[in-house]
């Protein structure tokens, strides 16, 4: 269990995830139409957007990234999902904060887990118990 101060840090970090239109939003009743259209537009259609400054790095895939890729492809070969469903889930259904805030394969594995729960291949309780078990095995890091 996180300490109270850790919990406060977590809440403060969560508050920082407010979608970056650079004005804090909190369930407003009035949404200007252009903003509404922007919210409703599929997240992955970023062509024409102003790009955030990014550092170009020559970098190999990390082991977790390769494992994520293979896991998601095997789920495809088994007929559990298809590539378009994966894109829909990993590029849109994650929501704007995770889309911009997670690494590319972080979104893949997030959406694979969500899909398995949505389709009742695993229960959410099983997933929670499994994550807790693995965390305990690694000393709760």
């Amino acid at each position: 269990m996180p300490s109270r101060s850790e919990l406060r840090q977590l809440y403060d970090a969560g508050a920082q995830l407010t979608p970056a239109i650079h004005q804090p939003q909190d369930w407003p009743y009035e949404v200007p139409h252009t903003l509404y259209e922007a919210y409703m537009w599929p997240l992955h259609d970023v062509g024409g957007h102003a790009a955030a400054p990014a550092l170009f790095e020559e970098k190999e895939e990390e082991e977790w990234e390769d494992k994520t890729y293979v896991t998601c492809e095997v789920l495809g070969w088994k007929g559990v999902w298809n590539a378009e469903e994966r894109r829909r889930r990993a590029d849109n259904d994650v929501g704007v904060s995770i889309y911009y805030g997670f690494p590319y394969y972080g979104r893949w594995i997030w959406s694979a887990a969500r899909m398995l729960v949505d389709k009742n291949h695993i229960s959410l309780n099983e997933l929670h118990e499994k994550i807790a078990e693995v965390k305990a095995r690694y000393g709760n890091r």
Binding site: M40, P42, D45, G47, G48, E84, R88
Partner: protein, 119 residues
Amino acid sequence: METAETKTVETPGTKAPWEGTGVTLPARFKIGDRVRVRELPAIFYSRTQMYVRGVSGTVVRLNYPDLTPEDEAWNRYNAPQEQYYIVRFCQKDLWEEYPFQNDTLQSEYPESALEPATD
């Protein structure tokens, strides 16, 4: 208790389960036709970019018939399969400030994303 490890996933048949099983619609456009990208809503999912909607281009290639992304993304394998087209646009038509007159951009669309161009 059934766990992820014991859960058996149905073995796919001879055909990949994500392949369409519905009718294949005949192609409406041919190479050289002028087409306009329809201004449909994109609520929940689409792969038709915002910046091409309402813009006209030329069909330069007929690819294959397949499910639309909107159907495949929700596993609607019985939906009709549509012809996919490569459409060529002038960059100037897409981005007013684009500096080069002759540059083009090609992208791929299912038939239901397109209509005959009137301009």
